[in-house]
Amino acid sequence: MSIQFKSIADLREMLDDKSISASELIQESLELAKKYKELNCFVTMNEEFSVKKANAIDVNKKTSSRLSGIPLAQKDLFCTEGLRTTCSSKILSNFIPPYTATAVKKLEDAGSITIGKTNMDEFAMGSSNETSFFGNVHNPWKKGYVPGGSSGGSAAAVAAGIVPAATGTDTGGSIRQPAAHCGITGLKPTYGRISRWGMIAFASSLDQAGPLARTAEDCAILLNTMSGHDAKDTTSLNSNVPDFLENINQPIDGLKIGLIKEFNLSDLDSQVQARFEESKKAYEKLGAQFIEVSLPNISASVPTYYSIAPAECSSNLSRFDGVRFGHRAESTDDLNDLYIKSRSEGFGDEVKRRILIGTYALSAGYYDAYYKKAQQVRRLIKNDFDNAFQSVDALMTPTSPNTAFKFGSKGTQNPVELYLEDLFTISSNLAGLPAISIPHGQVNSLPVGLQLIGNFLREDQLLNAAHIFQKNSDYHLAKPNLGDF
């Protein structure tokens, strides 16, 4: 029986009833990665180590963990000891980390097997995976179309059924938007829920790791393992981690879901709107109640984000100077010239653009007008959420205003056009709130995602609401036709 498109829960059953061994499972997953090489999901494969680890699992016959022997892919932004980690940038194209990120280490310690590192927008800056130094990733649903970004390789690898799940990171929608465009489930947890240690930083007050998988149930399995306090990350939350898997089969009768008044959905594509209305009805049928809520400042999320994220990025990316790691330019005049040439040769255009914006926003004379102002508006946005959660349990929006688009069709003339793709996802990063995207049908044969935003630390509620939806529908079971690859 093929392992393609199987969930973690399915594969666990196959491993436990011995219909497949860990070695066979990993071999097949690696073969699928090769078969669909053209998708360009992976930057680096981890074949030798994966096979060894699977063999060891078969010999030891220990299956104490749900994840034992399960193949996973890691976004190439998580440091992995001894395994090249590039952030899809030329500047890190030869970087071999001396340590493994906490989130990945926890997954590996639980027995899962990292088969490879996935392609992404360079330094996670993008919404289409088109800024990668290693080339575009195809959307498994349609060749020549973007998978979304920045965790585009992870989303495509899961959607193509190569791995049942993958890790991603989400700074402004980078898990949820590619999950939506590829027809899978993606969760951005509460800021601080998962350690950021060993994640190559883009915008430290917004970045958060999370799972991309075929089902909400699988996201719960990964979240259980990835979460928890880490002394190595000063922003890691020291709070109780519930058993997310245990919590997912609760009735949602009486669940109060807020619809954000300021998001005028009638401006959207009529079919995106129609899918949203259908899902709203489906939730009503399951017992949820809808209430309109007002978040007066939410429309300012995009400009707020595009001030804060570049500012933090310009500071974080100053570490790439050609001295301690990463690309170093040849024949330089002096130290300053070495910095300038190494960085200019190593970074792509979008990364440079964001560093420049951030440098400008933080420079003398502009700091108050741009950076501080944005952080003040950020508080207003967070206050709006706090008020909304007085009367509702969760908020519901489309994940993205559009379906996946053709390579090169957006943002080339005007970068802001692509920034507006993040309209529905960005605000939860600014406020640090958890949010999930689940597939809920298609528009013109391309998947669309439904987003639920939860209150602080209420991933349990989101995963439950998503699981109940998936138990009563089959959108998450739809598979792309991979005949073109």
């Binding site: 910095y339 420049l356 400008y360 640090g432």
Partner: protein, 93 residues
């Protein structure tokens, strides 16, 4: 934003922009600055900035000595190093 400002920011960020791209970069930056400039219309008097969603101070931990020396591994990633140091072009004559 004029070309001079773009040059100054580039220098502050230690970045060089290709001559043939500088006009496009200038235009892109202007568009983005316009976007973030739209925040000026929002009244934020008496609003404290929110620098992190957690608003907590860093947790303290006990100062326990531990040995985890990976010097060689760290030096391996540098383009130029000797046994103990990262090497850079001469700074002092």
């Amino acid at each position: 934003m004029d070309q001079e400002t773009v040059r100054t920011i580039c220098y502050l960020a230690r970045l060089e922009i290709d001559e043939n791209k500088s006009e496009k970069i200038q235009k892109d930056l202007e568009t983005i600055i316009d976007l973030i400039g739209s925040l000026q219309t929002i009244d934020t008097s008496d609003v404290e900035p929110l620098y992190s969603p957690l608003e907590m101070t860093a947790l303290m931990h006990e100062d326990i000595e531990k040995s985890d020396n990976k010097k060689e591994k760290f030096l391996e990633n540098a383009a130029a190093s000797n046994e103990d140091y990262f090497l850079v072009p001469r700074v002092v004559e």
